[in-house]
Amino acid sequence: MNLLASKDDLIRWLDSLLQERIVIAPVRVQEQTMFQPISKVEEIAFDFDNTTLSPKGWFLPPTEALFTVQRDDGQVNLVPALVERDAVVFGLHPCDARGIALMDSSFLQEPSDALYRERRSRTALIGLACRQALPECFCTSMGSAPDDPSHMDILLTEVKDGYIVQVVTEKGKALVPKGLAKYKGKVPTPPKLQAIPTMEVTSAMRGLFNDPYWERLADRCLHCNVCAYVCPTCYCFDVRDYSDKGKVERVRSWESCQSPGFSLTAGGYAPRTTKGERLRQRFSHKFLYFPERFRDVACVGCGRCVKACPVNIDIREVISDLQQLTEVKSGS
């Protein structure tokens, strides 16, 4: 059953959520829109296309302490980091919710990641259906859609009189304010997206592991970490201990398979030394290793990497190249 919240209802609702929880919402920062914890509802940018970074940073922060070890009176104590408050991520699009669901596959499988699990269970997702498809969007080719309520707790769709409130989960139900009217109008048609062919991308990946394609593609790749850091499903991290006067903090930070040091091991061996091998790893993780373990490909079609890559490595083009190369190879 759908409800209707006027813009004023929504603002009051968010304001009441803010009294009890941390609210992470899109905020305008200079030319960009970023997900940030807000201190008042007025900070929220309701009118935005897409955020520069996905909301994954709430669940896997760019940097966080995992635990600290302290020496007190001859005793050594390990103090794990705690998630102290409930939260709401507001305004995420369906592709981003799918991204979080894909991260769950990895982080919530046993043994699960304690901090991620805590944040995930204490955070509700109140999403926004997309009003328009951007030129870089291809979510419908990656198992999502501009109006897809899956993986959300509540999905809002903007209409003339406010927002249609679609309650998806029990967690969402508990958050909906009382007294909202039923929505009896039409649900707007979602924007149309250009579909890209995604057939057999996993087997194409497998067949082209040793293809010179990767070194050629890597020619123009800068091997920065932009694509991985803007990606809603890239979740690799580095861990380091910081010690200071008898206190040690174990910290993890985002890291990506594109850095030369990423796969460097003690003793100096690195399994992926060339740029091509590193770039292949990124696409292999998304289209081969991840689906082999968790069924789905690890791309949601948000288009952030397409937009952010300084040298236009376009994941849609890579998919189509892989398909063409496979066809050529099989002589079909």
């Binding site: 940097t63 800068l222 970490n225 850091y229 930070s253 040298v311």
Partner: protein, 286 residues
Amino acid sequence: MDMELIQQIRDKARNLLEEGTVEGVIGYERASDGLTARPFFAYEPAAAERLIFDETCIHDLVKYLLDKKGKKMAIVVKPCDSRAINLLLNEEQIKRDKVFIIGVSCPGVVETSWNRRSETLQARCRTCQLSKPLVYDFLVGREVARQAEEETYSDITEAKAIANKEEFWLEQFGRCIRCYACRQVCPGCYCPVCFAERLEPLWVGIRIAPEENRVWQTMRTFHLAGRCIGCNECERVCPVDIPLSLLNRKLEKDVKELFAFQAGLDPEESPPFATFKKDEKLEFGA
């Protein structure tokens, strides 16, 4: 688009590949948005047909030469990019006889990002004095007298007036996600192991947080003092819009005033911080 100029580039590239003078040609092709440009590597003569050149060819391609050491490569070079060639020649990172430079007389480039191009010239182009590359083997395009604006560093003067600089820069650096795109694109950043990744000595940790980001950005800037050639690629590729040109241009201005030096103008002249003169004045803290 100047089709005549593009044809000159394509013809030259094809010839070089056919004759086997070079193993590959580094230039530009149309990006996937159909609107802007992206770097392109042609290895077969037929691939030369994909090369383009227009005001969206903003990338400084010279950095790519470092990936192709030992191979003879041809490269499309704008006047501004030729300063990167000189920098790398001076610092002995590339060998002149391993590079065939297709120089392009450039009327300036515009601001672009994916699926977007502006109509106005980039700020650095408005003050650019170079009508043709400083070094080349083959020149394409018509050399036009430039009507360059005077370099006044008004952005630096404005930045100087920022009331609380500490707060301003911590906020800017607070957005940094340590993606290292600035470093990766920079022709002057080529250390085999960057200080940001060194464990011994440990210069900066892995925290993506304002204080450590500041250490990272400040050290990188200083490492480029007197070496930055002003291509502004770092600012272009920054996904969170940190105004890196303010830092680089401040140092460029200081080095110009203190040492009458600009990086990359002459391959024979080393940057001030790469030279030592016995009779140099040392007035630290004066």
